[in-house]
Amino acid sequence: MTTAHHGALQLKVERIEAVTPEINRYTLTASDGSWLPPFSGGSHVTVLIDTETGTRRNAYSLMSSPYDASQYQIAVRRVEDGKGGSVAMHGRVHEGDVVPVTIPANLFPLSKHARHHVFIAGGVGVTPIFAQLEELSMKNGSFEVHLAVRGPEHATLGRELRERYGDRVSVYGDEDATRLDIAAVLADRPLGTHVYVCGPARMIDDVIDQAHRQGWTDANIHFERFEDAGSTGEPFTVTLAKSGATIEVSPDQSLLEAVEESGFKLPYLCRGGACGECETEVLELDGTLDHRDDWLSERDRASNAIIMPCVSRASCTRLVINA
């Protein structure tokens, strides 16, 4: 099995396919031809992307089969007004290139106790479901998929799933222009049903809200936000207590990105405010923290003593973190 150096695997871009006008699928293999570390359905990797303005670290769900250790597949949607990572993946990365990729981590795993799995996705949010369904169908799990797309030209991945799994997959917004009705999808489900949602923030919030209205508890609601949780905002300055370094966080970068750009390291995993890995102690604060994560509790937020540098910011004259 291929091993990681400095936390990253060196993977060769074996194949690039355009699957929609905005989405490319990348097939990655170990550059030394050996096996890749195993993963479970719902896992993601972080790709270290070389851009004109430095290295971007973008998280992408693995969509290949968890039972195939010879390759990883990811789908990358080009975001023109983003931070340049996806644009570089589309424009600068070619077949045959070697890219650094972290080993897989799973923040969106299947529930092992569910009696029925309902997947709801929007657009490129369908990618983790590919791997989850491979895992479920091997285990004969009961499932159904509801995928919303913006038109027939964006429906390729949904059609692939329909070919594999038939009527268990519903694609909305393809040629028949049907609409996904989240409340109806969640209504009158048997006990032990779990819902998984991956897509735009509004879709995730709608699913959580509808599920709560119908009496679901959080243990049965699983979600993964693929959008940049918003690490843009007003600039601020942070001081790292251990080195004394003072770092400017510009409007278009996160606290974590600014620290990394200055040559320091913070622990991280999801870079989306979900996993808790980058939780950092706030030692001094003159101002207010702008918490944007899904990790901290209300009490943690109010304490002003912890921050998640991957997404959260501050509006302050002084901020010292224990790093």
């Binding site: 106790h113 569910a114 009696r115 969640l186 009158d188 489900r189 048997p190 006990l191 032990g192 049903t193 709560h212 119908q214 009496g215 679901w216 508890t217 959080d218 243990a219 049965n220």
Partner: protein, 201 residues
């Protein structure tokens, strides 16, 4: 040999209406009728209107709250003569229940544990269930040798009705089996039994 201070024993709740639920399923046995009556009194009329109550009058201590439960207006009450029957009714109700259902359990440890096994099979999560212990702490014991279950065990040493071995009841509660483990009491030296004592029932 025996563990003291039983960490594996479930920490029980106090039954109270779970406001996020759309339907309420409550099952009690014996002394569990008392917390059940309190739960029903704490519910709004609307919650009672979507509540199904299953009550078994089988009881180790002889307490029955059947008459009091009959007197509660506006609930769907199912009365059962035995715990086995009540658990079968629970199973039938769970098989058609929908997401948004909340489950309330009250009674002996063995009864709650067995009901929990059914609930887990149907995929109910801990945050959809409240359980309140009532009555004595008599133990349900699983024999490690013949797989038999014995209800209402009160002594540290007892003879397994399944295989006839003298068992010592260990202080480990298995949530999966909903029982304490019983193992051969004179396994080290045949005929040499540990002291016979009353369990902390």
């Amino acid at each position: 040999m025996l563990i003291t201070g039983i960490k594996s024993r479930p920490v029980y709740d106090r039954l109270a209406p779970m406001a996020s639920g759309l339907r309420h399923l409550a099952i009690a046995q014996g002394s569990g009728g008392q917390p059940m009556l309190r739960l029903l009194a704490d519910m709004t009329p609307a919650q009672r209107g979507v509540a199904t109550v299953v009550y078994s009058s089988e009881s180790f201590t002889g307490n029955s709250y059947e008459a009091e439960l009959r007197a509660v207006d506006g609930i769907d009450l199912r009365l059962c003569a035995s715990n086995v029957e009540a658990l079968q009714v629970l199973d039938d109700l769970l098989s058609t229940a929908k997401m948004g259902t909340r489950l309330y359990l009250a009674g002996s440890e063995g009864f709650i544990g067995t009901a929990m096994q059914r609930a887990t099979e149907y995929g109910l999560d801990r945050d959809e269930i409240l359980r309140e212990h009532a009555g004595s702490f008599v133990r349900r014991v699983w024999c490690a040798h013949c797989n038999a279950y014995t209800e209402n065990v009160t002594q540290r040493i007892f003879r397994c009705p399944g295989c006839g071995l003298d068992l010592v009841v260990r202080d480990h509660y298995s949530s999966r089996l909903a029982a304490f483990q019983g193992v051969k009491a004179d396994g080290e030296v045949p005929g040499e039994l540990p002291e016979i004592e009353e369990l902390d029932t």
